[in-house]
């Protein structure tokens, strides 16, 4: 495995996991505010969800690229991709993958 290539992809994945996780967390807080507490929608609300819609596929690409390097099974790859859709989850998976990488 090319070390430098891997380091880049590893960094790419970590950045995307944290970015997608943070954006989703903030948006979920707004979602609860709007839907449950029935507050008015903040002005950037719709645009922010759209932005998230474009960030998530980038996270999926990052996960996929890493999965081919680490030889993950198909099921594991899909699970880690889906983790990006659950608030907070991508932070935990990122920690677990980090552990796996440091051991290899």
């Amino acid at each position: 495995m090319n070390r430098e290539d891997f380091a880049k992809q590893w960094l790419f994945y970590r950045i995307m996991a944290v970015v997608v996780g943070s954006v989703l967390l903030i948006l979920t807080a707004f979602l609860i505010s709007v839907r449950v507490l029935e507050n008015p929608e903040p002005p950037f609300y719709a645009a922010a969800w759209t932005a998230h819609g474009y960030l998530f596929p980038v996270y999926v690409v990052a996960t996929f690229m890493l999965s081919t390097k680490l030889k993950w099974s198909f099921g594991k790859t899909i699970l880690i991709m889906l983790a990006g859709t659950i608030p907070l989850m991508s932070f935990f998976t990122e920690r677990r993958v980090a552990k796996e990488v440091s051991q290899s």
Partner: protein, 258 residues
């Protein structure tokens, strides 16, 4: 050849094709949703000539915009549209694909449509109002200026009336006009004697552009479709490479199981 048709590879292709088609389908769905109603920005009155070009379809952006028109009534060219109610919107079927039946709690009667000839000798169909007793309504005559909103011909795609109500179409107006008629019809907002003003079916332009958010989601799904295609190709290629390695191992006698 066999390696191209292994069970795993077939599953990869099936899943790849399904996911790709699903993404493209979802993109199409968002594109369809993007053609949403966008309410008009203001209720500025536009001239009838601006709104309704002659010898052309009524522009979607003209629908529901207030206007006024001056001309001469044609007393011999009245059209009565039966089985209608005052509120146009309540006659619209929620599902354009099926026949909907509604029993009205409000009076059922006629929409009285009179033809007005304009200075340029074109004709326009004007829904002057609703009545239960059309025989008591005197023929429209003389010159008048009528305020109202333009409506598309009721055979526009996506519009279906309940109870099998006959649609008021441009064709019907053309058949009853002496001169060339404008597409669609005008619903008068200025009151006519002994008639109840009718609520138009469309109160805002049918399509005034695209909903940017759904357009963004359309491209979002196409983006996803691209990623799925990329993953599909990568996984299938890896699978083939893997089969190749396994085969050469078997050829070398390293793997006696295959």
């Amino acid at each position: 050849m066999k390696r191209y048709f292994s069970l795993r590879l077939i599953a990869i292709h099936a899943l790849g094709a399904f996911s790709f088609i699903a993404c493209v389908g979802l993109a199409y769905w968002q594109w369809d949703r993007a053609q949403a109603y966008v309410p008009p920005e203001s209720a500025t009155v536009l001239s009838f000539e601006e709104l309704s070009p002659l010898r052309d379809y009524l522009p979607a952006s003209s629908v529901g915009v207030p206007t006024s028109v001056t001309g001469t009534w044609q007393p011999d060219e009245r059209i009565l549209m039966p089985e209608r109610v005052v509120d146009g919107k309540s006659m619209v079927s929620p599902d354009p694909e099926s026949e909907a039946l509604v029993s009205w709690a409000v009076p059922v009667g006629y929409w009285v449509v009179d033809i007005m000839e304009l200075a340029d000798e074109s004709s326009v169909g004007v829904v002057r109002g609703f009545t239960e007793t059309p025989e008591q309504i005197a023929p429209a005559s003389g010159d008048e200026t009528v305020s109202g909103v333009m409506q598309p011909s009721e055979d526009v795609p996506g519009l279906k009336l309940v109870n099998g109500i006959e649609p008021l179409t441009t064709n019907l107006i053309v058949e009853n006009s002496r001169t060339i008629a404008h597409d669609g019809y005008l619903v008068a907002t200025s009151p006519a004697e002994s008639l109840v003003p009718v609520g138009p079916i469309f109160t805002e332009p049918v399509v005034k552009g695209l909903n940017w958010q759904n357009v963004a989601y359309t491209f979002n799904w196409l983006f996803f479709a691209g990623i799925v295609a990329m993953m599909w190709v990568r996984v299938a290629r890896d699978e083939l490479e893997f089969a190749e390695i396994a085969k050469s191992n078997a050829d070398l006698g390293h793997d006696n199981e295959s």
